[in-house]
């Protein structure tokens, strides 16, 4: 059982392997199964991720509340004109596409949660394609992302209700950034730096869902944090180190989460959730009583 990013980096570096290789071996041991079985299960999840991206980019979805639906598809079409440009714009569109699928009661993989489920698949697919990685390599990178998420879950939290959005979408971005570095051919150290840089960039981000629903601002936040994950992966690959090591940043995020008032932790009692427009939306939704 591992509880720090540092020990994953150390083991992988000592063995001259990727973090995904080490994580897979440790997980197989803990679950008393084979690495082949784990890869098989992870590949199934990757397929669901890819399918959810495709669905969100091609179908005219509408969320249960009617507030969102086609942001991913719309942005995908806009990419040729975008300021951001490929591949980051693609990652943004893909992340929002999964958010759209999630909000319209489609099938997704929680990564690490349903509300943050767009970031990781979008980044892995985009960076994987860019570097012409095989499906197997992309599936492997999910083990790196999963191991990062596990350390965050153990040391801090992955839940918006406990730690705010920094713990939910922020963790997803940190997981995605680490996986992106590995896919791009970066070292285990660089994976750790990307995790630290990602979490430092969103430290303190609040969870303020309008009407308590996983839509506004969540879906667009998935898109923007996918772009941030790629940016910090780039920083790390360029050799720019995080002054504060990943584990210490995770611990800092935990303490910030504890300092955040409950109003900013998924209760819809603060942030954009209490703006006049949000209140109006909430009122309109309430008027539809249960059947």
């Amino acid at each position: 059982m591992y509880t720090t990013i540092q020990e994953l980096i150390k083991t992988a570096t000592r063995e001259g392997r990727k973090i995904s290789y080490v994580a897979k071996r440790l997980e197989a041991k803990e679950l008393e199964t084979t690495e082949e079985e784990l890869t098989k299960s992870m590949r199934e999840r990757f397929k669901v991720m890819k399918k959810s991206i495709e669905t969100g980019l091609t179908q005219d979805l509408q969320s249960m509340s009617g507030l969102t639906g086609t942001e991913g598809k719309k942005f995908w079409k806009y990419i040729p004109n975008s300021i951001t440009g490929k591949p980051v714009a693609e990652a943004i569109a893909r992340a929002m596409a999964v958010g759209n699928v999630n909000a319209s009661m489609g099938r997704i993989v929680a990564a690490p949660t349903a509300g943050a489920s767009g970031i990781l698949p979008a980044v892995i697919l985009t960076v994987g394609e860019l570097f012409k990685r095989s499906e197997g390599e992309m599936v492997d990178s999910l083990f790196t992302a999963g191991a990062i998420g596990k350390v965050i879950a153990i040391r801090a939290s992955l839940s918006g209700a406990e730690g705010g959005c920094q713990a939910e979408c922020g963790s997803a971005a940190a997981m995605a950034a680490g996986a992106a570095v590995e896919l791009a051919g970066g070292s285990p150290h660089q994976v750790g730096d990307a995790v630290a840089l990602a979490l430092k960039s969103i430290m303190g981000l609040v969870c303020d869902p309008v009407a308590g629903l996983v839509e506004v601002p969540c879906i667009k936040r998935n898109g923007i944090l996918a772009s941030m994950a790629i940016s910090v992966a780039d920083l790390s690959l360029a050799g720019i180190r995080s002054v504060i090591p990943a584990d210490e940043v995770i611990d800092a995020m935990k303490s910030v989460g504890e300092m955040l008032p409950n109003e900013l932790k998924e209760t819809a009692l603060g942030g954009v959730a209490t703006t006049p427009t949000a209140k109006e939306i909430e009122k309109n939704l309430k008027e539809v009583s249960p059947k």
Binding site: S63, N102, A111, A153
Partner: protein
């Protein structure tokens, strides 16, 4: 916690607590009824009552009652599916009581030969707890193979059931007995480490004093 708790579960959105958890609650309730469901009166409390529409909580609860898994894409069409299968339902809103979890639901289920009242809550990450069956206090997660018995409240019943499980080499993980009144009907929930085959369930039903026994596979 393993890596598939982080990269997973595969589920129908938008919310693990309000959608996936709701579907699981419906499914556990359906298993507790243990026979064909004809009508369900579903009362929503707290956050379930407030945000059920935007989260598809209502659709997920009905889907669960029909036996659908939390990752079944037919979740959003569950009302139509219920109609096709001749299952009726209606939704009510209740006042959240102090001791209740904010995501709570009460099912009043009418089956082909019996009725059951099941109260449960979605406690986060898709995990659920059933806290009461017909007014008997219980604590069922649905994560273990579970046997629920209704039996006469008399000496030796607990021993007979645990001995029988031991005979089939089934280890008990958790066990809880509660009763309506002394000498009346008691309800026992046994969660085990290994699966409970049909013949063991049948053997439990054969024990003298057992009125009803239901076995639930882990969800």
């Amino acid at each position: 916690m393993n890596i598939f708790d982080i990269i997973g579960p595969v589920m129908i959105g938008p919310s693990s607590s309000h959608t996936a958890g709701a579907a699981r609650l419906g499914k556990v309730a359906m298993h507790i009824l243990g026979e064909k469901l004809l009508f369900a009166e579903i009362t929503l409390y707290g956050s379930f009552a407030k945000t059920h529409k935007g989260h598809g909580t209502d659709l997920a609860l009905v889907a669960g009652l029909l036996g659908l898994q939390p990752d079944d894409e037919r979740l959003r069409e569950s009302f139509k599916l219920a109609k096709e299968r001749g299952v009726g339902f209606k939704f009510l809103q209740g006042e959240l009581k102090r001791e209740m979890h904010p995501n709570s639901v009460m099912f009043k289920l009418k089956g082909s030969s019996s009725e059951r009242v099941v109260v449960g809550a979605s406690i986060g990450g898709g995990r659920v707890i059933v806290s009461s069956i017909d007014g008997f206090s219980v604590n069922i997660s649905g994560e273990y193979p579970t046997v629920i018995t209704l039996h006469e409240d008399k000496p030796g019943m607990v021993g007979r059931i645990s001995t029988l499980l031991a005979t089939y080499d089934i280890n008990i993980a958790q066990m809880r007995v509660s009763r309506s009144q002394k000498g009346g009907t008691a309800l026992m929930v046994v969660e085990t480490d290994s699966e409970i085959p049909k013949y063991v369930e049948d053997a439990i039903k054969e024990i003298e004093g057992i009125k009803r026994a239901i076995s639930i596979a882990p969800l």
